[in-house]
Symmetry: C2
Subunit: 284 residues, 2 copies
């Protein structure tokens, strides 16, 4: 297929690379051209604008930073909507606002296009190894068309419902992680404060009812004072802000999420925004 790919950062670069490797024709755009060089060397075509990576494409993927970037890429003067032609399918894989996903879908529909929101989880390793979980919102027909491309990037690909549902599902994911991280940090901090060996404590608790991905994967990093980013604090704060605003818009009180967001913001204020999410442990 003729594919456009907008946003070739750590995630996008790997994901686009899988499409290219499978033989799809790829036009790429990124704010910083240097980050696309590897893909260009591998046979992708460069475009100077999002608009250029959209013309004559069958499917256009976007995975950029913040909701404001998504808006610019789609609605900007040289953006996706400036040139997308009939029948093209637009797929935003950025973790972004559900209401923005709905607005993109409505704009697309009015122009005779389709849109999917399809944020992912699995991080840079998942992107590299094509093991992402992809949470999709949008029409079934567009989903069916794009699914073979999703399957080149991930393993757990689920259509969750209409436009916005992919983003809402990603928020469910981040909400579960957020309060869970408080528990993991406090558990390990308690272990240390009470004179236990946190590594030995993990042997007792990680395979039971306290077990979680975060406990098994991030607690060992906390204990080892390894705060290198797997997932950046600043990006997690972005996600938690979207989740909290979205929950409030739905009339839902989420005190655990609110607490976790406040704690991560405190960590960022103390200079931790470029650390990994496990650095929350430093607050204890």
């Amino acid at each position: 297929m003729n594919v456009g790919f907008i946003g070739t950062g750590v995630m996008g670069k790997s994901m686009a690379g899988h499409l290219l490797a499978a033989g799809h024709d790829l036009v790429v755009y990124n704010r910083t051209k240097g980050k696309a060089q590897e893909l260009l060397d591998a046979g992708a075509t460069w475009s100077d604008t999002p608009q250029g990576a959209t013309s004559d494409r069958d499917v256009v993927f976007t995975i950029v930073g913040f909701p404001a970037d998504v808006e610019e890429v789609y609605f900007g003067s040289d953006g996706v909507f400036a040139s997308a032609s009939d029948g093209v399918i637009l797929v935003d894989m950025t973790t972004s606002r559900p209401d923005l996903a709905v607005r993109i879908a409505e704009t697309a529909e009015a122009k005779g296009l389709s849109a999917l929101d399809a944020p992912v989880s699995g991080g840079d390793v998942g992107a590299r190894e094509a093991r992402l979980s992809i949470m999709v919102g949008g029409p079934e027909k567009a989903f069916a068309t794009v699914k073979p491309l999703f399957e080149l990037m991930g393993r757990n690909i689920v259509l969750q419902g209409p436009a916005g549902s992919g983003q809402h599902t990603k928020m469910c994911n981040q909400i579960a992680i957020a309060s869970g991280m408080l528990g993991v940090c406090e558990s390990m901090a308690y272990a240390k404060a009470s004179g236990l060996d946190p590594e030995v404590v993990l042997k007792s608790i990680e395979s039971g009812a306290a077990g979680s991905w975060s406990l098994s994967n991030l607690a060992p990093r906390m204990i080892a004072d390894n705060f290198a980013p797997g997932f950046y604090v600043k990006h997690f704060i972005k996600d938690l802000s979207i989740a909290l605003e979205s929950a409030e818009a739905l009339g839902l009180e989420t005190p655990g999420l609110a607490l976790a967001k406040a704690m991560y913001e405190r960590l960022a204020e103390q200079g931790g925004e470029d650390l990994g999410t496990q650095a929350l442990y430093k607050l204890y």
Copy 2:
């Protein structure tokens, strides 16, 4: 070995049963005799007091309700310490206060006895199937003697350190669970509020970074309005109260734990104390 077993509730009954089945000589005491009947039918001997279940025993296990019950069983006028003779090993498997475990150990030592604190996780099913995780504090020598008996009750048996370390480890376990439950409840509540199908959301999120024992095992019960007790809210509140007091005594701030405890107390005030911990979902 000659074993005393004090506390034949849901957990204790199964645990004592494994010891009896392995051929150990068992004297049992329980506040309500009826709950020990199955063990008596299977060959255990009844005692009318904790003291009687301690005399001439090599090892005495206790697993009762609250720290106040532990105190009564050990320090009461017809309690364990009233008759325990030289060399006997006392093993409290109740989830109880770490400082009480230390006091029992010190009293034991002064009398020429040894004590272990050895709370468990794994619930009634784990007790029945001898799959408990047993977190032990106390001297190595006593641990080595009792270990073959622990192995009849559980699979993951770890000596965590000196007296109190078993209780502290159990607190680490409960602390990780507590905030994690906030995340699971809020994730599922968000899914529902945003119009998603929570069961389909689980397909997207449970195998990734949001994954946890609670998400996989308790979220489906929340969704199905199944609030039957696996682990009682009232017992979880007991554990969280011990954890929070103990954290405070250690000078550790645990805002996630404090929030979770407050939420569970609100649930209990609304009549939920005899429900399972997944009933926290009802607050959302």
